[in-house]
Symmetry: C2
Subunit: 169 residues, 2 copies
Amino acid sequence: MEVIEAIFTRRSIRRYKDKPVADEQIKTILEAAMMAPSAGNAQPWQFIICRNKESLSRIKDINPYAAMAEQSSLGILVCGDLSLEKFAGFWVQDCSAAVQNILLAAHGLGLGSVWTGIHPIKEREDGFKKLFRLPQQVIPLAYVVIGHPDQDLKSPGRFKPERVHYDKW
Amino acid sequence: MEVIEAIFTRRSIRRYKDKPVADEQIKTILEAAMMAPSAGNAQPWQFIICRNKESLSRIKDINPYAAMAEQSSLGILVCGDLSLEKFAGFWVQDCSAAVQNILLAAHGLGLGSVWTGIHPIKEREDGFKKLFRLPQQVIPLAYVVIGHPDQDLKSPGRFKPERVHYDKW
């Protein structure tokens, strides 16, 4: 799928078929995540591959907006590792770029995904830290649900000309 | 260009040819930016198209790492608009996803780009706010330099298996 088309047609998928994501696809998605740019090229990220059914069933208790995790076969918890930062405070942007690469790579592979937010909501951070036994310096940014889509969503078109300003506000 | 290939081959470009970016390409890049996902679909972003030579020459004084702005013909200042947020604190992630779409769309169009960081460095925020006369609730996140690349960088490969954890840390 062409990159511009992929950007324009990607949607948040919340219904999944009961079919696993292949290991090779997971590898491609992780490689894509790690190709994101980062401040000082610090690459301050860590990824937890979540496929354990017991864990997936507990995510809805941490974030009800991520309840579809239970119906999916795969999730990737994208975390910032503060011990890897070169320029303090940029890890959120670096890891967000990695998440966007994950969403687009999954879409390019014919998979669906949805970005569910964690940071900066403290209770969600604590819940995911506990569930996946993260060390103190590793902060969960987002939980990305991934799977074979069981819904077909059209591209909405989101261009808003009033959000574009020329040479000054 | 295929989306996975685009993700894998995109590099930060810091040398540009003296040739303008077409209006149609700018439109495609902005459409791509606004197709990013956002918390609650709030789309809390604003974009300043920077082509004024006088402004471009002043950016290096705000951020020396963005000195290449002066040699480029185009920049996009990506800003979060706090008045548009639905879930407080997620604007950085939303706008970072938009930046990543900008970088990938530019690459897909044969253009080069580089993400130069602003937020959360207060002096840079203040410098860009003043230069582009941003209202109080609009926070500059990143200045993206865009142009016709005058360097050809190979894909480095950044996959680090030690950053991947299975089912728990």
